[in-house]
Symmetry: C2
Subunit: 98 residues, 2 copies
């Protein structure tokens, strides 16, 4: 029997990052403010978790303007979706497979 917790991805262990990815799996280009409100986070906390996911290339960031206001939005990368799906599979295997 192989190690069942090794496949759990550290990048998704935290609840906030789990929340971010869950949202980005089903929504394209979610913006900073919406994500912040939905997950009830401070600016700094969201920014730092996004940076962590970006560093892993799991999330892509787009900076634009809506009207004349700056707008930052996020999308899961193909790599991020794959990694997250694998994480969910690992979770399921762990929970159901013992």
């Amino acid at each position: 029997m192989k190690n069942l917790i090794a496949d759990i991805n550290k990048s998704f262990e935290n609840r906030v990052r789990l929340g971010i990815m869950s949202i980005l799996m089903v929504n394209d280009w979610v913006d900073f403010g919406d994500l912040k409100d939905t997950l009830d986070l401070t600016d700094g906390n969201l920014a730092s978790h996004i940076t962590a996911l970006e560093k892993e290339k799991y999330v892509q960031v787009r900076k634009a303007f809506i009207g004349k206001r700056p707008n930052t939005s996020f999308q899961a990368t193909a790599e991020g979706r794959k990694a997250f799906q694998e994480h969910l599979n690992a979770l399921e295997a762990l929970i159901k497979g013992m």
Copy 2:
């Protein structure tokens, strides 16, 4: 829409504790050595995670002898099972419900 990450139980956020609880949900009285081997942990690491779960009353500890050797084993409490099931429900709601 209510906060979707608030129901995720901090006690189960860590992979090791997730692993311990997953095993204890389907196995009664799992012993120290087996748990340690299955999850591939050091003694100290397992002991400290178990202590954390015990402090929350999610896990019960039994010390006995098997033959002439000391044996420590663990069981999920009713409270632990309930809390873990709620955690899984919260996870599912987060992942599927966005």
